[in-house]
Symmetry: C2
Subunit: 229 residues, 2 copies
């Protein structure tokens, strides 16, 4: 049986979903081979008999699992003898804490820096759906939403305090080696890097150094994927 990971993709094969990156890094962390299948937003109903509404979806033969948390838990349960994603409940809770913080604090900062660029790199068949659904949600055009990012980015670094504090004494959030909490935070920056040429991080920041280390993990799983920089 080969694992198949359905991941959001754009026309230049950029896999850009932060949640799909959680699962891709988790698979690589466990040393599991998988086939990545590029999936457009409007392709999802055609995947696995239409039983899932979102990606990532991990397919194994007849079975499939949707949702990055469900996938992480499945991998941890199924492969207890391979490198751990969580050092027990505390590690899972740390990742959960970072997950919510990433969604609530980082994403609202990143989205208006990359949203139009995401649209532009989508498969043409996805663009109308994306524009319509996102513009309804944000209440303005994608163009207006992304405008002014050069000024806004100046303050981006001020939101990274929790990452900096955690990285003060070790190379990864989880210590000497990365675990799932690292991949959760990594997904946010990799989302930006695969969606847009617009850079979020200053080079002399400890978060930037950590992100570069994450890109190199597992034989450059993150660095070698198609991206803008």
């Amino acid at each position: 049986m080969t694992y198949v990971l359905y991941e959001l993709a754009g026309k230049d094969d950029h896999k850009f979903s932060p949640y799909c990156w959680h699962s891709r890094m988790a698979l690589a962390h466990k040393g599991l081979a998988f086939e990545s299948r590029a999936t457009g937003f409007t392709d999802i109903p055609g995947v696995c008999g239409g039983q899932h509404k979102t990606v990532p979806i991990l397919e194994m033969g007849e079975k499939s699992i949707c949702d990055s948390w469900a996938i992480a838990d499945y991998l941890e349960e199924t492969y207890p003898d391979r490198p751990a994603l969580f050092s027990g409940p505390e590690g899972r809770n740390f990742a959960a804490f970072v997950f919510d913080w990433t969604n609530k604090v980082l994403f609202p900062q990143i989205a208006p820096c990359v949203m139009l660029d995401i649209h532009d790199q989508l498969y043409p068949r996805d663009q109308a759906y994306f524009r319509e659904s996102r513009e309804a949600r944000i209440g303005k055009t994608l163009e207006a939403f992304q405008e002014g990012r050069d000024e806004r980015i100046e303050k981006f670094g001020s939101h990274l305090g929790p990452l900096r504090q955690a990285l003060e004494n070790s190379p990864f959030l989880c210590g000497e080696k990365p675990m799932y909490a690292d991949y959760v935070a990594f997904g946010a920056f990799q989302w930006a890097r695969t969606s847009s040429p617009f850079k979020l991080l200053r080079e002399n920041d400890s978060v930037s150094a950590w992100f570069e280390r994450c890109l190199d993990l597992h034989n450059g799983e993150g660095r070698n994927a198609p991206a803008f920089y």
Copy 2:
């Protein structure tokens, strides 16, 4: 040798500093006896020969340590056979992440709900210092700063997502049992509870249930201390 913990206190012996609570809970967690010494803001220069600028200060005979992180690290190093405060570097990083998040996200929400009440319960000798230094920092009177808290508190719960997400599957942030990350977050809510009768948490919230569990820890170390509710 008996440990002495110098803690910020007000006139009704309310120990109200969130950072001092980190250290008090850490000492209790390690099962160490200590003498708590109530300290006003303006008393600090007279403690331990004036060598420290802030509390908590942990004094052991001739030696003393200032700063809640230094105290936690000292306790963890000195008592490796007693219950661990950190499950290794990951656990320390989790606590560091929560520490920054607490300072940057929770404190700015809590401070304008309790700042005038803190002033009112201080030793009279501390009140002028506190009013002057805080009003200079916030740019308005303590009275104006605290005004409107009944309306502001409505949105307080929306900031607690990371705690809720981490508490979804276990009673404490650190899993089945509390560790230092729990005490760091606990300090924020205990700060409010020892400073002001104004309640922050709704009773049917998972964060409220966790806080109650924390209050009961170590023979009610948190619950039995003088407080407003």
